[in-house]
């Protein structure tokens, strides 16, 4: 194959792509769809349930303050600290619950694997940016709130190529 033919073939291959669909995800307007409600773990079988590893969700009525999540995080990111909760909100004897610093968290989900009481799960919430470092520290009260996550676009494959649509 000659040099000119090769260059024309390369250009032609690029020009063909004018006709195929745009693959780019227009992020703030459209957001990706995930499977499930986030990563969860079933301690009775020892197997997790597939889902995005995003911001945590803490069930206050299940948490016993056993600190296993905090111990698991010590070797990974040291993001989880056990804090005192006010007496009127207390759900366990020790009145301590995890507080997570998302400036340090690496979203490995080993704290969820460590929890034997179905108290700590992960959610699909991944938009955690904040203007201050303090804003990244989520108290037990904030972790209790179930997030609303907009999910509308999925990868679709047609004859005209793949697109988020």
């Amino acid at each position: 194959m000659g040099t000119a033919t090769g260059i024309i073939r390369a250009l032609n291959s690029g020009i063909k792509h004018l006709a195929i669909k745009r693959f780019t995800l227009r992020y703030p307007e459209e957001k990706l769809k995930f499977v499930g409600d986030g990563y969860q773990f079933d301690p009775s079988t020892g197997v997790g349930i597939a889902g995005l590893k995003g911001r945590h969700l803490l069930f206050h009525d299940h948490c016993t303050g056993c600190q296993l999540c905090s111990i698991a995080c010590e070797g990974v990111a040291e993001a989880i600290a056990m804090v005192k909760v006010p007496e009127e909100h207390k759900h366990n004897k020790k009145a301590i619950m995890p507080q997570i610093d998302y400036g340090k968290c690496v979203f490995c989900g080993l704290c969820v694997d460590a929890c034997p009481f179905y108290a700590l799960y992960m959610t699909n919430d991944y938009e955690l940016s904040s203007f201050s470092k303090e804003g990244l520290i989520y108290t037990p009260a904030q972790l209790q709130v179930k997030p609303y996550v907009q999910q509308d676009s999925e990868i679709k494959i047609t004859d005209r190529g793949a697109s988020h649509g």
Binding site: M1, G2, T3, G6, I7, R9, A10, N12, S13, G14, F23, T24, L32, F34, V35, G36, G38, Y39, T45, G46, V47, G48, I49, A50, G51, L52, K53, A72, G75, V76, A77, V106, F107, C108, G109, L110, D113, M122, I155, I157, A162
Partner: protein, 394 residues
């Protein structure tokens, strides 16, 4: 391309030379004609590494790679964490290939602790590691394209990689650092309907990468820049201890998935891609052919995988190994053979952990390949070695 270099002894220079050199940089005074050039350590490509190159005009006469700028102490860190908590930090050296970089560790710990892995988990691991291999190679290919000034080849792999990242996100819950493999299986089962989505996206991905031939691999401009540059002969490739795509591009048929099958690779039909040329073009083409082979393996694994069953063995908390039991396990990663030597103690932490990484072994060939090349060919030869600085420094 080797060219006759002018002999420096013929040139008479009367000027007094500069005697002062900045200390601590490892620079040495050479002939007036020869210039020492620092490439890096601020990102010569991806990751921090310095190449000390001595050039005579446009020709490289010597090259001294200086890795070590991103040393993280992974091996020492592993001695203070138990077998499970080692997982997140051991996949950090190559975040784009995080399943493969963790694979030998998990295999080794399973042998040390005597864990039997369920059949379905083995197939899930094979699928995850093959998807990850493709993700790594696509990233590598994108950087190779931009190294040669081919911006289309940067955009296309970076975009098509998203198809597989989406699959990994559905499978493991994370886009890049998955922390998916654990001793005893994988952390979660596949989501419902995954096989169908995986097959569709992998088929489309394979169709897309075949289009790269016209725009990149058959492109006369790429061929003129990479063919016959940085030729590594078959003997030299073996003698220098290179692995992976570098070794296979020099005509050695060596793939650990075939030679030392781990998990269920022995039940799958694997074809090894070998090229005889040993130049930068062959080294850049072998990973691309490997991606098509990976797509084949994924399709086979999806077909043969048991449709139901457990994916993880429940372990005791803080499992302990035997006293001074050791194991060496290696797998074929996106760059070559990657091994872990693990010594256990009667403690939940390993006594010693040693990583034997392909990047460092491929880097050894670089000074030999660059001798006599033009400086402009340096990026194409350097990045064709499939080198990842963070992995080499560990």
């Amino acid at each position: 391309m080797t060219t006759e270099l002018p002999t420096t002894s013929e040139i008479q220079i009367d000027k007094p030379s500069l005697n002062w050199l900045p200390p601590g940089l490892g620079l040495q005074k050479v002939d007036e004609r020869i210039m020492t050039l620092n490439v890096g350590p601020q990102h010569p490509g991806s990751g921090h590494m310095r190449l000390i190159v001595q050039i005579d005009g446009d020709y490289i006469i010597a090259c001294d790679p200086d890795p070590g700028y991103v040393h993280r102490g992974e091996e020492k860190m592993a001695e203070y964490r138990n077998y499970i908590l080692n997982i997140p930090h051991l996949e950090r050296p190559v975040i784009h290939d995080s399943c493969n970089v963790l694979y030998p560790y998990v295999l080794g710990v399973e042998e040390l602790l005597g864990i039997e892995v369920p059949e379905r988990a083995k197939y899930v691991r094979v699928i995850a590691s093959e998807l990850n291999r493709c993700i790594y190679i696509m990233y590598w290919l994108a950087i190779y394209g931009i190294f040669l000034g081919h911006s289309t080849m940067f955009m296309w792999p970076a975009g098509d990689r998203e198809l597989l990242i989406d699959l990994m996100e559905k499978m493991t819950g994370a886009r890049v650092t998955h922390a998916h493999f654990v001793p005893g299986g994988v952390r979660n089962d596949l989501p419902p309907n995954f096989e169908e989505v995986c097959l569709r996206q992998v088929n489309y991905f394979e169709k897309r990468i075949k289009e790269y031939a016209a725009v990149f691999y058959d492109n006369p401009i790429l061929i003129s820049r990479t063919q016959d540059t940085g030729v590594l002969s078959r003997q030299d490739a073996i003698r220098l201890g290179t692995t992976g795509s570098v070794l296979r591009a020099s005509g050695v048929d060596y793939d650990l998935r075939k030679k030392e099958p781990y998990d269920v690779y022995d039940e799958l039909d694997i074809h090894t891609n070998v090229m005889k040329e040993g130049d930068a073009y062959a080294r850049s083409k072998i990973p691309w052919l490997d991606m098509m082979e990976s797509c084949n393996i994924i399709r086979q694994a999806l077909q043969k995988m048991p449709k139901s069953g457990s994916v993880r063995v429940k372990l005791k908390p803080n499992p302990k190994g035997k006293v001074f039991d050791s194991v060496y396990k290696r797998v074929e990663s996106g760059r070559g053979s990657l091994g872990y030597y693990i010594v256990s103690d009667a403690k939940p932490e390993p006594y010693r952990l040693k990583m034997s990484v392909p990047s460092f072994r491929n880097l050894i060939a670089l000074p030999y390949l660059l001798k006599g090349e033009k400086l402009g060919n340096m990026p194409s030869v350097y990045w064709s070695l499939n080198y990842w600085p963070v992995e080499a420094d560990r």
